[in-house]
């Protein structure tokens, strides 16, 4: 996993609530056995017309936002399925950070595991950041994970919360499995006790 420390980039405004995982990456694009290459189908229904041409009204088709690394949206981002293809598609497109008032649980979890930082900020703050983002390519937003601040183009800093463990993993690009395997003796121990108490689970 790629480490996430600071990020300065273009932010794309997506003023929609309930952006579900089917919108992010539709089911028909899940037939892959790879993690990469999904970016071209990100937001497919909104991004492309029926004949396959680009929809010029969609934000990621507009000049500065083609390079967007930050996405700002409204409530309940990532609701729907558990498909990790959603963060994979965002990442493959180049998005490393999503800012929204709140996120669906599984999407939130999946993002961290792929080096994407989801930031929860109140709706009014998201709206203010969306106004910044609408200024286009020169209005860069900075995310400083170490200091836990979003820096607006004006220089104003907005603090955000992040779970300490996840922050540590993101900053260092650490893989969960390697970390968990350090606890293997505890797992062995638990398993032995469980086997004695509930043998039917080990049939």
């Amino acid at each position: 996993m790629k480490a996430f420390t600071t990020l300065t980039g273009v932010a794309a405004p997506l003023p929609m609530a309930n952006v579900d995982t089917d919108k992010i990456i539709a089911a028909r694009f899940l037939k892959t056995i790879e993690r990469t290459g999904l970016g071209k189908n990100l937001f497919h229904a909104m991004r492309f017309n029926e004949d396959g041409s680009e929809n010029p009204d969609f934000v990621l088709n507009q000049a500065p936002y083609r390079q967007a690394e930050i996405l700002i949206a409204h409530e309940n981002f990532g609701c729907g399925s558990s498909r990790e293809h959603a963060p994979w598609a965002l990442l493959d497109f180049g998005i490393r950070c999503v800012i929204a008032p709140d996120f669906a649980d599984i999407f939130h979890n999946n993002s961290f595991k792929n080096g994407i930082l989801p930031i929860r900020l109140p709706r009014a703050v998201c709206d203010a950041l969306m106004d910044d983002a609408r200024l286009g390519g020169n209005a860069r937003i900075t995310i400083d994970l170490e200091r836990q601040v979003v820096v607006r183009p004006s220089g104003e800093e907005i603090p955000f919360e992040v779970d300490a463990f996840r922050k540590h993993c993101l900053l260092n690009g650490l893989d969960d499995i390697g970390q968990t395997l350090q606890h293997e003796p505890a797992i062995d121990d638990y398993e032995a006790k469980r086997r004695a108490a509930a043998p039917w689970l080990f049939a």
């Binding site: 539709a26 899940l30 056995i33 649980d105 599984i106 595991k113 300490a164 463990f165 499995i177 395997l181």
Partner: protein, 499 residues
């Protein structure tokens, strides 16, 4: 079976392991009233990390072809084995055709690749697998309970959000992403923060024509698709107790549509009767020990929930969604909302988009909406009870001209049972298609899809734009309501049929 005696020894399982506190204890040593969720959680904590994240042990891991290839690839790259193949089971469901063509091989090259990749992976890692042509094949959330692979008190995960279904047994069951699938394969644990407790109490009795699907849609309509975020929902109350296991599974299945991490129903005699005798359920002395533990699981009477919602079942009217989010649901007697009436600008824009996408006119009666397709199936509603409900409406009637109506059993075993009961005959005589087990038209990733602009009455769980195929328009409802729509040719009030 032990006749209601005092539970013996195995209560050690419900006690926290040494050195750990119950998840919400205030002071060390203080015994605190716990919920069903707390009890299962506490019994599965391997270790608590500094920031409150727990390493949670997983009893059952269900694997399917769509969310697992990258996980096995990760294991292979790191040279890691599957820690407990015996706690794991793999099956194919999402990708496959349901028209009988499976006997001659899978046509779509990408689907075939995913299925073949799973077959290669289970062989390489020694994971038990139910092949496509086995009678036990079916939707992962149907076969788990059916085969007794999912049991009360278990922690159950699957790379699929509707894993919440298995909570109907009184288990803690939740969906995980592919990285977590890999994590569970390698370590038999997940890293999780404890969820908050929410209780949805449904008092009273359901009126005729209403089912657990109507309860679940009414709950989502009330609390919204983010109403359960961060919570595990326990369903309680007279109307829930009265539900059979299939009904409880429908309810827990759609907890994810209410934003919850999981849904649960406390195990009771209905649960035990369902589990008893299933192929993988404990037997003999093991059954007695398991039962004693299961009986200790229901929430303590004085347990405190972080959020409470109460509904009266008697007030529920058959529900149907009209928009493109499960929370946009109305009684079948309702009319299409007018975006102009929205409370704020954002909601107005959202309603406008939904009305346009769904091809609706504000003020139009829902019962005026003509359907092109009726889909009875999916992990929400494809069990034998659901098929019986659809057949009861279809009996002696005909599908309206121009409507394509399909019934897709949730597993090969459900299919066989339905055929043994003659339900397939009833349905086929009425003009329904009788198909093979799979996810089918629940999601547009196998040959069963809506065409752009087609309108469906579906018993599945998601009505998102394009969910059943690009441009498709989905109205979610119960199996009986879907069957009624097939007969009438438009969304219909099933109460006209059951009067």
């Amino acid at each position: 079976m032990r006749p209601g005696g005092a539970p013996p020894g195995p209560s050690v399982l419900s006690a926290p392991l040494s050195g750990q506190l119950p998840s919400r204890a205030k002071r060390p040593g203080e015994a605190m009233a716990r919920t069903l969720f707390d009890k299962i959680w506490d019994a599965h904590v391997v270790e608590r990390l500094e920031d409150g994240t727990a390493l949670l042990y997983i009893d059952r891991h269900l694997v399917h072809e769509v969310t697992s290839p990258q996980a096995f690839e990760g294991l292979r790259a790191a040279g890691r084995p599957v820690r407990r193949p015996d706690a794991t089971i793999a099956v194919v469901d999402h990708n496959i055709a349901t028209d009988g063509s499976r006997r001659t091989g899978i046509e779509d090259p990408e689907s075939r690749l995913q299925v073949e990749t799973l077959e290669k992976n289970v062989a390489a890692f020694g994971v038990p697998y139910i092949p496509l042509l086995d009678d036990r094949q079916g939707i992962v959330h149907v076969i788990g309970p059916e085969l007794g692979l999912s049991l009360p008190g278990m922690t159950i995960v699957c790379g699929d959000s509707h894993t919440s279904t298995h909570g109907a047994l009184g288990a803690l069951a939740f969906g995980i992403g592919t990285s977590e699938v890999e994590h569970v394969l390698a370590t038999q644990t997940v890293l999780q923060k404890p969820a908050k407790n929410m209780r949805v109490t449904v008092n009273g009795r359901l009126p005729a024509g209403c089912t657990s699907k109507d309860i679940t849609l009414a709950v989502i309509g009330k609390i919204g698709t983010a109403g359960g975020t961060g919570h595990v929902i326990e369903y309680a109350g007279e109307a829930i107790r009265a539900l059979d296991m299939a009904g409880r599974m429908t309810l827990c299945n759609m907890s994810i549509e209410a934003g919850a991490r999981a849904g649960m129903v406390a195990p009771d005699e209905t649960t035990f009767a369902y589990v008893h005798g299933r192929p993988h359920a404990p037997k003999g002395e093991a059954w007695d020990r398991a039962l004693a533990w299961w009986k200790s699981l229901p929430s303590d009477a004085d347990a405190v929930f972080d959020k409470e919602v109460v509904l009266d079942a008697a007030e529920i009217i058959p529900q149907v969604t009209w928009g493109t989010s499960p929370e946009d649901v109305l009684p079948i007697t309702g009319v299409v909302p007018n975006p102009a009436d929205a409370a704020d600008e954002a909601r107005r824009a959202q309603l406008q988009r939904m009305v346009e996408y769904m091809g609706l006119t504000p003020g139009q009666k829902l019962t005026e909406l003509k359907v092109d397709v009726v889909f009875i199936g999916s992990c929400t509603n494809s069990r034998i009870e659901d098929i019986r409900a659809a057949a009861a409406i279809a009996q002696g009637r005909q599908v309206a001209p121009g409507v394509r109506a399909m019934v897709v059993p949730g597993s090969g075993l459900v299919k066989k049972q339905a055929e043994a009961e003659g339900l397939d005959q009833v349905l086929v005589a009425a003009g329904f298609e009788w198909r093979e087990a799979g996810c089918s038209m629940c999601l547009g990733m196998n040959p069963d899809k809506l065409k752009p602009g087609q309108r469906s009455a579906s018993t599945s769980n998601r009505n998102f734009e394009g969910r059943q195929g690009p441009g498709g328009r989905t109205h979610l409802c119960s199996p009986a309501m879907a069957a009624a729509a097939a007969i009438k040719g438009h969304l219909a009030d099933v109460r006209e049929f059951v009067a």
